[in-house]
Amino acid sequence: MIPQFRQYLSRRHFLRGASVALALPWLPSIRPAASSAAESTGKPPVRMAFLYFPNGAWMDAWVPKTSGRDYELPFSLTPLESVKSDVLVLSGLDKKHSRRGDGHYAKTANFLTGMPVTKTTGKDVSSGGISVDQLAAQHMGHLTPLPSLELATEPVITGIDSNVGFTRLYGSHISWQSAGRPLAREINPRIVYDRLFGQKGVAEPHKSTEFRHLLDFVLEDARMLRQKLSRDDQFKMDEYLDSVRAVEKRIAFYARAEARQWNPDIPEEAVARDYPGAPADFREHIGILFDLIVLAFRTDSTRIVTMMLANDVSGRNFSFLEGVSGGHHQLSHHENRPENIDQYQRITRWHVEQYARLLENLRGIPEGEGTLLDNCMILCGSSISDGNRHDPDNLPILLGGRGGSTIDSGRHVAFEGEQPLCNLYLSMLDRMGVPVDSFGDSTSKLSAIDLA
């Protein structure tokens, strides 16, 4: 019999397991020897996540009328009421390198790079540069079992858009290891769970020695094969080589005695094994992946997460929402018709609602002097503003959490004139302890978010 291994945790069972994990405190004493300056002071590490939703937002229902602390939540942001004091609404942030090109692909692939996307159906794919999450992972990935976690709810969009001359994979990738190398995303919660806790998968204790031997062997194969390839083909082999090394490091991390003394130890019966595949309902799917983000941050399994709530140009059907009848992309092309705009902003509000719930969950977990949310920066946003116009300026951006109690939350900050989104990324990198002076098209840090 072929065993079933496309299972995932049922939400209920999963949460039972998670609650076991969440009951365990974050322990500064079990950090790896090589730890950052922040850790040597005994302060919890700062984590960051980038949550992308497609098709922009109706900005009249997103941007608060007034700035500062006592602003009124507009329609699409009303779910933030309970977490208002822990969120910054940032309006007026721009991505100037997306002003040309098509309406989606040239906007989304560089959501986290800020640099120009190359127009191509495949040859010389480029997002303009490394993405902000991966730059951080390069600096601190060695401190956690997983350098970073890339999540999604749908498979990569296949095909090319020959009308605009872009490969559609641009609409499915925000995380880029380098300008020309997008990172694959995981969509199956079961596998995410296994990867996070190393009890299953490649770091399974009784398999890991065997796997290391195999990796050593194929690494040598790849080195020898590489020499026989022509120039451009060698770049493909480099991806393989780098991936082998990354998995080797991961296995080695678990093999270190001091690395992870704490083990979530989830009882076998808490893990349901009779649900094939990923959840069919994307609402449940997003909920479970959000729970896993909380768990990953809580257990310091990774400090960097990116997640696409859907691929760009997603036509996902939102008719389950009251007052909505149709698909997301279709309704984002509202043609300025009031009945379409009304449905469009309801879909956006649904996304904000999921985000608010994630923030609540992070805030419910005590850590250090405060809560887990205090040590997080959870960005939620889209790569265009009005979906009808595909505008890459004045982007809808929210920032939840206080980045290690350094962010003055609970305000609407409205930026005037040209203010690159990358300035925000630079400020986030700074809080992660990544020593860079600039990122993407940044001009300076975004000091307006700082705690005075």
């Binding site: 019999m1 065993p3 496309r6 098509d102 159906t121 495949g122 040859k123 010389d124 794919v125 749908e154 990569v156 969009i157 296949t158 090319i160 020959s162 009308n163 605009v164 490969t167 559609r168 290891q177 997008p182 694959a184 995981e186 199956n188 596998i191 490649v202 398999k207 065997e210 796997f211 031997h213 195999l214 062997f217 194929v218 040598e220 194969d221 790849a222 026989k228 390839l229 022509s230 120039r231 451009d232 083909d233 493909k236 082999m237 991806e239 393989y240 991936s243 082998v244 998995v247 991961r250 036509g315 008719s319 009848s325 149709g326 698909g327 279709q330 043609e335 300025n336 018709r337 009808n388």
Partner: protein, 646 residues
């Protein structure tokens, strides 16, 4: 752009003209371009560049830039596109100043007299292109290929690669494009786990719990051991000798086997279990880049013919999305695989094999973009409760089987446009109002149902609908793009919306609103091409069921008129329109198949293959085997350019 070495190739082309007189008059390139500057450019300046200027030209078509003879010559492909659009009366759009008859005639005469280049035996390379980055050909397996290869290696579908991340696509729109196949750490993790799972499943210590199927797979793997004795190491070597050249798709050197045996030694020393040692080596083979990558090795740099084994792999990937079988390997090793008659014979044999289903499942579904039906593309469940996963499967399966059978049975490729029968199961028969076939997935006559061909499949009609309503625009665009091979630019920003142009009369039907919208030349230039095609399919609802009234109860008007003045009604009318343009349909299909086969975007050097293929198809009743044969015999399929490593 000036192409160095250009004149040399023209000299070759001219010699070709002397030997084989060309039917159309082929002008000297310089004189031809000069003629443009003197006679055609003034018309272009007057009637075209207002929209197609240098700054953000409509549809990306810039007609203002060719200003010198060199620039005119370099824009070969642009002129053939422009010629097509003018001939079909699609440009200039209605409402804009039109070309006078003499102007139009002069323009077409000039385009038709374009000098023909003979590029049949060339590839894009540093020598033929001024700056050539090269396309990646050595690439990892796609998820589909990986699963098929494991299936064919073990003779049982272990389904261990289903959790691999989905692949994007590039080139002509297929996941076979090396440029867009990336390898991430999670790929490696999954390759490791899948190899582990596969080998542990097929080759456990105890055979007790093995199914019959797995028992056979195990026996095949261990067959080299039967009736022989020897040390455990010698036994392992025998198993590897039989397995590795299949997995690596080439004869394997003894040093390679020796390296694997060192891995065997380590495990054997540790466990004392021969089988454990063999398992470890087989896992290594499945994670090795020699298996996971289609490696085409450079020998001297420059353009080279593939090795027979590399060619065998390309054939197997093209027809089966899998690895070469024993017969292909034997022919490759014997050095006879490149013989023309052998290739034809093998193609026929391969297409008759059930593995050729990949041409439907992998090629056709990507070509037609119907893979997402049932997952991210889904009718609304409240409005269309009849739609469920089973029906989605049936819809996709119809397209897979319909296309696969055309290839398997050497049917006419024109059946993709129109056919007198359909391949359906019971749920589809109900949906189509046909008598169900005696057994699922049998061929039944379509009668007067209007079905037959791809444009009236439920998969197409459902995939091009929004969750709660049909979309003539999406359907028309689908036909234009996927069947006729035309481009449909996205609406320009700031285009007045449907609503704004139709504000005066809210009582209009959607069709009437769209017709108003089209009167604006900015909209009309595309919608005049799109909408008539889409409206002809309005008699099918979101699920692809026949209907006489739309959702609001209004009778359906399925008539359409193309910019050329051609009028037609309904799906059968649409199919006649498409058949009248069968040359465009076949050309697009040939380009798609070649792009799929080569795993890259086509360039001007591939045009010759397309032209030759079209000629052969026209002469041989559009038989499907001709298409695959022509590609397999073509120069770019048998050769590649290797850019020297730094």
């Amino acid at each position: 752009m000036q192409i160095p070495g250009f004149h040399v190739h023209w000299a070759i082309a001219l010699i070709g003209c002397l030997v084989v007189p060309s039917v159309t008059f082929a002008a000297e390139p310089e004189a031809w371009a000069q003629q443009y500057l003197e006679q055609v450019m003034p018309v272009v300046r007057q009637k075209c560049v207002k929209c197609h200027g240098k700054e953000e030209p409509d549809g990306g078509i810039d007609l203002a830039s060719p200003e010198t003879t060199d620039q005119v010559i370099a824009q070969h492909e642009l002129w053939s596109l422009v010629g097509k659009r003018i001939r079909l009366n699609e440009m200039p759009p209605q409402g804009s100043p039109q070309l006078s008859d003499p102007e139009k005639a002069a323009f077409m005469r000039w385009i038709d007299s374009s000098p023909k280049q003979n590029l049949c035996n060339q590839l894009a390379s540093d020598e033929t292109q001024s700056w050539y980055r090269g396309y990646v050909m050595s690439r990892r397996l796609t998820q589909t290929e990986y699963n098929n290869m494991l299936r064919d290696l073990f003779g049982v579908d272990l389904q261990v690669g289903r959790d691999l991340p989905a692949d994007g696509a590039g080139g002509e729109g297929f996941d076979t494009a090396g440029d867009t196949l990336f390898t991430s750490p999670i790929h490696l993790e999954k390759y490791l786990l899948a190899a582990d799972r596969a080998i542990e499943t097929v080759l456990p210590d105890s055979t007790e719990s093995l199914s019959e199927e797995l028992q056979r797979a195990r026996e095949r793997l261990l067959a080299p051991l039967s009736g022989t004795t020897g040390t455990p190491r010698e036994s392992a070597r025998k198993v590897l000798d039989a397995f590795v050249n299949r997995a690596y798709r080439r004869p394997v050197a003894s040093e390679e086997i020796e390296r694997l045996l060192q891995l065997f030694d380590t495990t054997f020393a540790h466990t004392g279990n021969m089988l454990a040692g063999i398992r470890q080596t087989l896992k290594a083979v499945l994670v090795s880049p020699h298996f996971l990558f289609i490696g085409e090795l450079e020998h001297e740099g420059g353009v080279q013919r593939l090795t027979p084994q590399e060619f065998a792999t390309r054939l197997a990937l093209l027809v089966w999305s899998s690895l070469p079988d024993e017969e292909l390997r034997t022919l490759a090793d014997a050095g006879t695989l490149f013989e023309t008659e052998t290739i034809r014979q093998q193609i026929r044999r391969m297409l008759a094999d059930p593995k050729a289903r990949a041409l439907g499942e992998n090629f056709a579904m990507q070509w037609l973009g119907l893979n997402r039906l049932g997952s991210s593309v889904r009718p609304d469940s409240a409005a269309y409760p009849e739609f469920n996963d089973e029906l989605a499967y049936s819809m996709r399966e119809e397209v897979i089987r319909t296309t696969y059978e055309v290839f398997r049975e050497n049917r006419s490729l024109l059946e993709f446009v129109d056919a007198s029968d359909v391949v359906i199961d019971e749920p589809l028969a109900r949906l189509y109002g046909l008598n169900p076939p005696p057994r699922d997935w049998q061929r039944v006559p379509s009668g007067d149902s209007g079905r037959g061909g791809l444009v009236t499949t439920a998969a197409m009609l459902a995939s091009t609908s929004y969750p709660v309503r049909t979309s003539p625009v999406l359907r028309g665009s689908w036909v234009l793009e996927n069947i006729l091979g035309e481009r449909v630019p996205p609406p320009p920003p700031n285009v007045p919306s449907l609503e704004e142009t139709a504000k005066e009369n809210q009582a209009l039907t959607f069709r009437e609103r769209l017709e108003q919208h089209r009167r604006d030349p900015q909209c009309g230039s595309c919608h005049n091409r799109i909408d008539p095609l889409g409206f002809s399919l309005e008699q099918y609802d979101v699920l692809g069921r026949f209907r006489e009234r739309d959702a609001s109860g209004q009778p359906i008007d399925a008539s359409g008129e193309l910019p050329s003045g051609q009028k037609f009604i309904g799906a059968s009318g649409l199919k006649q329109v498409l058949l009248a343009r069968k040359r465009d349909v076949m050309k697009h299909l040939a380009k798609k198949m070649l792009g799929y086969a080569l795993g890259r975007e086509l360039n001007k050097f591939d045009a010759c293959v397309i032209d030759e293929t079209l000629k052969e198809l026209e002469g041989r009743e559009y038989r499907s085997h001709v298409l695959i044969e022509q590609i397999a015999l073509s120069y770019p399929f048998q050769h590649r350019y290797f850019k020297k490593a730094d």
